[in-house]
């Protein structure tokens, strides 16, 4: 029991960056924009967040600058991908490559560091010990003692869901994605809505980057986002573009990762256990693909 609770506690922590990036990418997805740049946005936020924290010792400023960096990339992505109608995958990958290269470069030239940037002066966000939660059994074990952005991510889930399904903006965004022609014909500002979608995503990716670099640890390492942006994309697709579905699948991937860390002590070759998160992604995507196919066939019959 204690083991399980500790796994769930870890799960929530490992889910957070994936879920934030996924919920962020969700708007763009629903607006018909494939945001491949999630990874780069997260990394940029992690990088500039760490640098700002190092330089000023002010975590709020670090949070702001991290998100700002991510938003700037959101503009770049939107400009090339939406305004200039460039190939989204290429623009996205270009941004990811650019951030990976630029962060290493700046680290080397300005700070004389390569690979890792860790310093006592970097201030991170601490875990919160919430008085009421502390005393509730089970719930307290799972939900207490997390860092602020973990809690924020749960709030984000609610807000994202609400905006997408219960506000005019949400309806517009979905319309743009589902039937662009219809959106144009009723006079919706298609490009503007797509910009907004991408930029909301940037803000959330910014949070995810800070979560990785200044909450989980307090340092920057080249490519420290480690493919979480792409797992987030998988979560969006698996969740069939709904906020709750996306979160559930982020949670599943986080859980698989937490499990594999925990299960490494069992006498099974480590490589098999390390496959779990990726295997679960493939299995989930396959099952969803099959289900989609079936429901499509049914609707074709009708």
């Amino acid at each position: 029991m204690e083991q399980l609770l500790s796994i769930l506690h870890t799960t929530l922590r490992m889910t957070t960056p994936i879920a934030l990036a996924a919920l962020g990418g969700l708007y763009a997805h629903r607006a018909g924009v494939l945001n491949v740049a999630l990874e780069g946005m997260m990394l940029a936020s992690a990088f500039f967040g760490v640098i700002t924290s190092f330089a000023t010792g002010n975590i709020f400023l670090a949070l702001f600058v991290g998100i700002l960096a991510s938003v700037v990339l959101g503009f770049v992505f939107s400009f090339f991908g939406i305004t200039l109608k460039g190939n989204l995958t290429i623009v996205g990958l270009a941004i990811n490559t650019l951030v990976a290269g630029a962060s290493s470069f700046i680290l080397q030239v300005v700070f004389g560091q390569r690979g890792t940037f860790a310093n006592q002066k970097i201030v991170g966000l601490k875990e919160l010990d919430i008085p009421i939660l502390r005393n509730i059994p089970i719930l307290g074990d799972i939900f207490n003692k997390h860092t602020p952005i973990v809690y924020l991510s749960l709030l984000v889930l609610v807000v994202v869901h609400f905006i997408l399904y219960h506000t005019k903006l949400g309806v517009y965004i979905r319309t743009v994605g589902e039937k662009e022609d219809a959106a144009v014909s009723v006079g919706l500002p298609v490009n503007k809505l797509r910009y907004i979608s991408v930029l909301i995503g940037s803000v959330l990716c910014g949070l995810a980057g800070i979560n990785i670099a200044l909450e989980n640890v307090t340092m920057f390492v080249e490519n420290m986002t480690g493919g979480r942006g792409f797992i987030a994309l998988a979560a969006i697709y698996s969740g069939r573009g709904t906020a709750i579905g996306t979160y559930v699948f982020s949670l599943l991937f986080g859980f698989a990762d937490a499990m594999q860390i925990r299960m490494q002590n069992i006498k099974i070759p480590g490589a098999f256990i390390q496959m779990i998160p990726y295997l679960s992604i493939i299995v989930v995507l396959s099952v969803i693909g099959l289900l989609n196919k079936r429901s499509r066939r049914v609707s074709d019959d009708v």
Partner: protein, 340 residues
Amino acid sequence: MKKRVLVGMLVGALALGLVGCGQKKETKETNKDQFKVAMITSEGGLGDRSFNDSGNEGLKQAKEKLNVTTKVVEPGDVSEGETYLSQLAESGMDLVITLDLGHSDVLKKVAKKYPDTQFAIFNTAVEGSNVSSVLFKEQEGSFLAGALSALVTQDTSLEQVNDKKIISFIGGIDSPGINIFLSGFKEGASHIDPEIKVLSGYTNSFADPAKGKETALSQIGQGSDIVFQAAGATGDGVIQAAKQKNVFAIGVDSDQDGIAKGNVLTSVMKRVDNAVYGLVEDGMKKEYQTTYELGLKEKGVELSPMTYTKDLISEDYLKQIEGLREQIISGEIKVKDIRK
């Protein structure tokens, strides 16, 4: 619109500029009589506070003390190995050292093509009349770390230590080059007390500190109070976890004791600097060996001086470790090499 295009072009130019600067080559004026050494770093390049930096340190020393010309090249990835090896040999280097064991296959080819150049490769054995292979006996350093951990984990008077006889290991990737640390660590621990339990885990990445921290927290949760990591930058996360939970971590490759003062028990150091320096020295005398196997005896591996922890730990333990070190050097204790 014109303005936008202009902005776009500027961003593009900036991007190109950054990419163009990605690779760094250091060229110094060469004097014909001087001995010329080039070193190719392994992936990660300089600034890793570890393997490559240590090699560079040795090269710097050689430059100062032995008056040789040096050059360091940092390839972007392993596939560029052949180009660099050939180019450096072509440019008249006397000794070309590669720290990347991924270059072993191409080195065989290149070495044959340039018989007048001496090559050296680290961490793997490559055959060839003009190739030296430099291997470290990581197991010997890890043995001492394991033995020390086995002693320390039973000393409950320390605030960092719990009452469980559990210690643990975190590796970057499940591979012989990493598992050699684990096997030595285990052997050392059970030499002191066969009942010590050694947990182990892998993060599948050398650059994911968040995962390193998570794995360490999981092991600490299972009762480990000393976590030995051999996982590159992932290991920085392990050390942060140890600091957060106030237990011990053990560093690797270079002296990492200062990363979290008092929470890094010791570091299993690979003295790449000594090895590089030694190679240059031998090169100037033209007395290369085909294989260098560097262990405790050759000062190729050693434990860090424990600057921040030696006062915490009972002197008796340190004496025992020193005794074990001497026994390994004299050959009384032979630590198994799982790679052979």
